[in-house]
Amino acid sequence: MNRNVQLLWNGFIPENPIFRLALSLCPAVAVTTSVKNGVMLGLAVVFVQVASSCTVTLFKSFIHPRIRIPAYVIIIATWVSVIDMVLPVFSPAVYKEVALFVKLIVVFAIIISRLELFASKEPFVPSFFDGMGMGIGFLFGLALTSAIREFFGAGQLWGQDILGFKPLLIMILPAGGFFVIGFIMATFNWLEYKITGKIPASGGGH
């Protein structure tokens, strides 16, 4: 397989930021009460991840290793400020609900960990695809979680009524987010066990 395609795939399933690496969990629970919110925040993260991966890989020879963390944070914060100004113009209704989390993309562990582990060492093109893969994996995670929660909690998908009643109201309550993520993680573990025959390690760090 082409390396770039492999990098994309890597972020999508084998190293999915939410379910496998268990990084940046706060938004995964918080904004996933409806698919629209989840996808919007996911797109914002894709943008910030790709843009800051590219920036870091272009400027890596100018950044002194000892001040790299503050430098990365400032780079991320700059791109987050950009998306924070663009999104309210683009879709004000959604922004109203995810505003705090768009600002908090700065402290999402997944972005800075990709900069540290990948973009600061590799050339431009692989960094782009790695950022893209991780971003899309994150988007996928948010979309899956929010689809389950919106469907069972509100009987809707993307704001459209499907069931006409609310089967499990708990799903859109705070607790439901934790339950859904727990069960999806367990499913991923089970799939890995079925496919590779290995008992999975305890599902990532923090």
Partner: protein
């Protein structure tokens, strides 16, 4: 321990300075009080005529900053001694704000006495207490706002580390909340640089954590050994950035910012400790293979979140 004493002394001094500089409330002729979030109680001090007092046209009520937007009471009742009127409203009032009730031509025993104005608001201490309780329990950052989960799952494996992290986090949280408030009010707002607040706040927190790390290493190596590991981790905690942002968005004053930071810190420490207690037990219990580790931790957190829903009944302050 010298360091801690100096820190405490400094914060007490700061609090006093702010107390003196804080704005004093404007005086009006009378003051009423909120009963529930839909009722206002007004003491007249003298017995008034019932037919006059229950007429809604004699009252005009508005939120203090905008006198143009009137809220009209749905019904008015007088108590048995005819000295206190209770105004009932259809929609809930914003009890964190101040309301003005203007009463026209008070009629007592057939005589017109004149018009009076009543200021209705909560006491400062009441607002602060509500804010503290809200950040700590009702809207606990971990269980109902889902912030700080990375750290929450990362360091909740042992009670001892949970306590260390909780204490360190609360201290850093309170200090950085007050510092970000000062920066926001005196620098960013003064020069109309609001759009820079994300960059400035995260920079402030990072610099502050680095500074505490360096100072503690030299001044109190014992404490540093206990808490040093957690200090660096704090920068990646969403709560530390969310609190100054929320403070700035609802333009809270210095005291309110400080209280909100304290509530957030204590709430996080509480959540961390509770979780650590459960996870220590989980280590030795028989969990289904696929759920070992993080999945079951998530389910437990969900149960905690359900339990914390119960605190929403505390929102009476």
């Amino acid at each position: 321990m010298k360091m801690t004493k100096i820190l405490i002394a400094l914060s007490v001094l700061l609090a006093f300075a702010l107390l003196i500089a804080g704005p004093s409330a404007a005086q009006t002729t009378g003051s009423g009080s909120f009963k529930k979030d839909k009722e206002i109680e007004i003491p007249f001090g003298i017995p008034v005529d019932e037919s006059w007092a229950t007429n809604a046209a004699n009252y005009s009520v508005y939120e203090k900053p905008d006198p143009d937007i009137r809220v009209s009471p749905e019904s008015i009742s007088l108590d048995a001694r005819r000295t206190t009127a209770t105004l009932k409203f259809k929609d809930a009032l914003n009890t964190a704000a101040a309301y003005v009730v203007e009463v026209k031509d008070i009629l007592s025993e057939g005589k017109v006495i004149g018009s009076r104005e009543f200021l209705v608001k909560k006491g400062e201490a009441q607002i602060l207490f509500g804010l503290l309780l809200g950040a700590m329990l009702i809207n606990n950052f971990v269980f109902t706002k889902y912030l700080g989960l990375c750290i929450f799952f990362g360091v909740s494996q042992k009670k001892e580390t949970a306590i260390g992290m909780g204490i360190t986090f609360t201290i850093v949280m309170v200090l950085s909340a007050i510092m970000c408030w000062a920066l926001y009010t005196f620098v960013l707002q003064a020069f109309h640089l609001d759009f820079l607040k994300i960059i400035v706040f995260i920079g402030t927190v990072a610099i502050f954590v680095q500074a505490v790390d360096t100072i503690l290493r030299k001044v109190n190596p014992y404490l540093f050994k206990r808490l040093g590991v957690y200090l660096v981790l704090i920068v990646t905690n969403c709560i530390i950035l969310a609190v100054p942002l929320l403070n700035a968005d609802s333009s809270r004053g210095p005291f309110a910012s400080l209280t909100f930071g304290l509530g957030a810190g204590v709430g996080f420490a509480l959540a961390l400790f509770l979780m650590a207690c459960v996870r220590e037990k989980l280590e030795v219990s028989r969990v289904p293979l696929m759920f070992k580790g993080l999945p079951v931790a998530f389910i437990v957190t969900g149960l905690f979140a359900l339990a914390f829903l119960g605190f929403s009944g505390l929102a009476i302050f």
